[in-house]
């Protein structure tokens, strides 16, 4: 460490105690003056430390302030719009924001957002646990790394590509599967027949599942890898098969991680915009309500994206920002739960 003088002011050698956090004063038998001269004069050092600590703390506070500002600005723009809303914001299905008085409600947005994301999470859960177990417990080490990279590769593909692939390539291939579902289970409201062809919630769910697999797998892998070796060897010593060993040690140990990984995946799915926007067929205002996943519709994110080009007037934009606010609160809650669960489990 040589002094290159990037501080302002000349280096003023101060021979007395050089102190700072993490330092324990001059060491006996060492020429402290020489060190102070060579390394850094204490007054400048302390000023440098103070500035640097201030910058670091400031950046930390900036992040906190940023999240608070997001909430504050969305609230500020959303509240006037909701106040002028002539229908119930939470329970109505109408969306008429081009003319006064404003009429907008989020009931169907909430349904489509939640059902597609929750189903995606439910499908991705066993698959991601399976992949994580394969990587950590089954695959030979030489195979485990490329497998893990392949799964990470899924995360590197932009969501717009997933959207285009989902609607133009995947959906036509799955139309027979959909017809099969409708014929066999059509009596159940979730699988009811609709007029929508390819752009269904069902296709959206499948694509969301693929998109949230990497993040869920990554977290599962992380916790499975940390299973204490003692526990694993104990299970082997009791004569357990591999599956019994996993059931007795790896899965109980990783439970919190799996739960929070699922929540993170759910959070991603809730907020996914462009893939869902491209896939889902929008339904006209006042269309018939259906519980079916073979229906079209819009999520919070896709409704905002579909209309983003026409943001021009504050009250109208306010309606979309109100939808964005609900989405923000949803993802905030889901992510907060995920982090609290994982942090609690890391403590021991």
């Amino acid at each position: 460490m040589t002094d290159r003088n990037d501080d302002d002011g000349p280096p003023a050698p101060v021979p007395d105690v050089v102190s700072g956090p993490g330092m324990s004063g001059p060491v006996g038998g060492v020429d402290t003056a020489a060190i102070a001269g060579a390394a850094m004069p204490s007054r400048n050092a302390r000023r440098g430390d103070r500035i640097f600590a201030g910058l670091a703390t400031g950046s930390g506070i900036f992040v906190i302030a940023l999240v608070a500002l997001v909430a504050a600005f969305l609230l500020q723009k959303a509240i006037p719009a909701i106040a002028h809303d002539k229908v119930n914001f939470l329970t109505s299905r109408t969306w008429e924001v081009d003319s006064k008085p404003l009429k907008f409600g989020i009931a169907d947005l909430l349904w489509v957002t939640v059902i597609s994301s929750v189903l995606a999470m439910i499908i991705a859960l066993p698959v991601s646990v399976g992949i994580a177990l394969f990587i950590t417990q089954y695959a030979p080490r030489r195979l485990a790394r490329p497998v893990a990279s392949a799964i990470d590769l899924l995360a590197a593909i932009p969501s717009i590509v997933y959207g285009v692939w989902g609607i133009y390539v995947l959906a036509p291939q799955l139309s027979q599967l959909r017809d099969g579902f409708v014929t066999a289970l059509g009596w159940f409201p979730l699988f009811g027949k609709t007029a929508v062809d390819d752009g269904t919630i069902f296709i959206g769910t499948i694509v969301l599942t693929i998109m949230i697999l990497p993040i869920m797998t990554a977290l599962n892998r992380e916790v499975f890898e940390r299973t204490p070796t003692d526990h694993i060897e104990g299970a082997w010593a009791l004569g357990a098969t591999r599956w019994e060993m996993i059931r007795m040690t790896v899965l109980p140990h990783g439970r919190a991680g799996v739960i929070s990984g699922s929540m993170l995946g759910l959070g991603r799915a809730l907020g996914e915009t462009i893939a869902v926007t491209l896939i889902l067929s929008t339904l006209g205002n006042g269309s018939k309500w259906s519980w079916s996943i073979f229906n079209g519709g819009e999520t919070f994110a896709s409704r905002i994206a579909n209309n983003a080009a026409e943001f021009n007037e504050p009250s109208k934009t306010g309606a979309f920002i109100a939808a964005g606010l609900v989405l923000f609160l949803l993802t905030f809650a889901v992510n907060a739960v995920a982090r609290i669960v994982i942090n609690r489990s890391r403590r021991y």
Partner: protein, 305 residues
């Protein structure tokens, strides 16, 4: 009925040992299921990459793809390139990186090198929340601040600002992880020489973790480069070359892709479809290159977990 396999590795040879049949079936059944789960996940990956490469390849091997824009090219025309889009993406992502990296690295330093207290805990929590904020919400926030409140006009710079919110958490986590791997002895040796803390951090700790931090930055870039949602809210798409980040509509790769999707309507012409897959391939190619470079840099790191 049960015996213990002595010299074999555990479960290596369940057939020979007298383990009860139900346990054996459970073991092989779940093992098969787990391998199946893995293969299942590979299907969309391979299928998607195959589609994009097969349908996008022909467009991007033409040299004008890399040198021309889409100016006055309609769905009836086959020519034109993606230069304007690559330029826009490069400018937006570069600006985003320039803003994000100092903030994110300082946050990482703060979380690792400074005293843990309630503020540090809150910061760490908020970084997690930030990493979960949907890109469309980040875009709406930038819209609410800069366009509604401050009266700005849609421009590429706002994209960079929205991307900052998505990139910061990625880089913070990478920095944090790498700084924690730097051995404490290095810090102590530096302190013992009388080097103040800030110089220790900047000259000893950060350089040691440097390649890991660069990896994190590259992964952050590859996360934001393909973001489309903010584009819809914050900047208009332009098929012309616009190298001014601070004014007017600007093209970008995801924006161009979305634009081509909007032109697919006329089924008699396949040019828009070709360009859409071509843009997708260009985007994936760039992101994959970034990813590979990031991992190579990470492998040369001085500190290892």
């Amino acid at each position: 009925m049960s015996s213990v396999a002595t010299d074999n590795p555990p479960t290596a040879d369940l057939l020979r040992t007298g383990i009860r049949r139900t346990r054996k079936f459970a073991n092989y059944g779940t093992g098969g299921g787990i391998v199946l789960a893995f293969l299942l996940a590979l299907v969309p990956l391979v299928w998607l990459l195959y589609t994009v490469i097969k349908r996008g390849y022909a467009v991007i091997v033409k040299s004008q793809w890399w040198t021309h824009s889409q100016r006055s090219i309609t769905f009836r025309d086959s020519s034109g390139g993606a230069y304007h889009a690559m330029l826009g993406t490069a400018e937006q992502v570069l600006m985003c990186t320039v803003i994000s990296v100092p903030i994110a690295v300082m946050v990482g330093i703060y979380l690792v090198e400074y005293v843990r207290g309630p503020i540090a805990k809150a910061t760490s929590f908020m970084v997690d929340i930030l990493s979960g904020i949907p890109s469309i919400v980040a875009a709406l926030f930038v819209y609410a601040v800069f366009i509604t409140t401050l009266g700005g006009h849609r421009q590429g710079f706002y994209i960079a600002l929205a991307l900052v919110m998505l990139m910061v958490p990625t880089v913070v986590r990478a920095t944090e992880e790498m700084l924690r791997l730097v051995p404490n002895e290095l810090r102590e040796a530096s302190y013992a020489l009388g080097v103040p803390k800030w110089r220790t951090v900047m000259r000893v700790v950060v350089p040691t973790a440097f390649s890991g931090i660069v990896t994190g930055i590259m992964l952050g870039i590859s996360r934001v480069a393909g973001e489309t949602a903010p584009l819809l809210v914050l900047v208009g798409y332009s098929p012309n070359i616009n190298n001014n980040l601070f004014s007017g509509p600007q093209g970008s790769l995801p924006g161009m892709m979305y634009d081509q999707v909007g032109q697919l309507g006329n089924v008699r012409y396949h040019y828009a479809t070709d360009r859409m897959w071509g843009t997708a391939l260009t985007l994936i190619f760039i992101i994959l290159v970034l990813n590979v470079v990031a991992r190579l840099i990470g492998r040369s790191s001085k500190v290892r977990s």
